[in-house]
Amino acid sequence: MSIRVQAEDFDIGAEIAAMSAGNHDIGAIATFTGLMRDRNDGSGVSALTLEHYPGMTEKSLADIEAEANRRWPLSGSLVIHRYGRLEPGDRIVLVICASPHRGAAFEACQFLMDWLKTDAPFWKLEDTDEGDRWVESRESDAEAAARWKR
């Protein structure tokens, strides 16, 4: 279990290898990588600045990860989220969940992304064709998170 909030890029292959190294009870590894798109809500986007709340962001991600580990029998989990200035094609977020079986790995990975989207304190400022714009939260993200509520 670990979370990292960083400006630097990450290496997906290396992170997967590190999680599974030496643990031969892992049968399934699900990953999600979020990338910056060059269009959003009908506008071209040339850059994105991710703001966060140092302290609460880490706490929030750690809480969500702990909840995933309570709900599913995970052999390992990792959340990396970047902040700062990003350009189209850049990696934003990585979630990895490992488990003996695939159902748990898939579900925990989706759960982490859905909750992270609605709970982790990050805010996106887009540099668009029409000027700077704060990304607005989406109802669809709230609905995706709500399906995991207990």
């Binding site: 703001e51 709340y53 989220h81 934003i92 304190p121 805010w123």
Partner: protein
């Protein structure tokens, strides 16, 4: 008390962080919002539409009725958009 602002709330208030002496009559997050709004037009603008504002006390999400005391770290920000 430390008060933090993020994203467009930070831009409207004009600073990301303030250290404030809390008046005695301010005992909840909602009362803090009312008091802060009276401090400058920027503050008032930031808190104009509270449905678009989230609050955290000591890095936990809270509602407007949550108590605040002198040593707290209180943060205001829009709904999050990470991931």
């Amino acid at each position: 008390m430390k008060v933090l602002y993020f994203a467009w709330l930070r831009l409207r208030v004009g600073v990301g962080e303030e250290t404030l002496e809390l008046p005695k009559e301010v005992t909840t997050v909602g009362e803090l919002v009312t008091w802060l709004s009276s401090r400058s037009p920027g503050h008032a603008e930031a808190f104009r539409e509270m449905s678009a504002v989230r609050a955290a006390v000591n890095q936990n999400y809270v509602g407007l009725d949550h108590p605040v005391v002198a040593g707290d770290e209180v943060a205001f920000f829009p709904p999050v958009t990470g991931g």
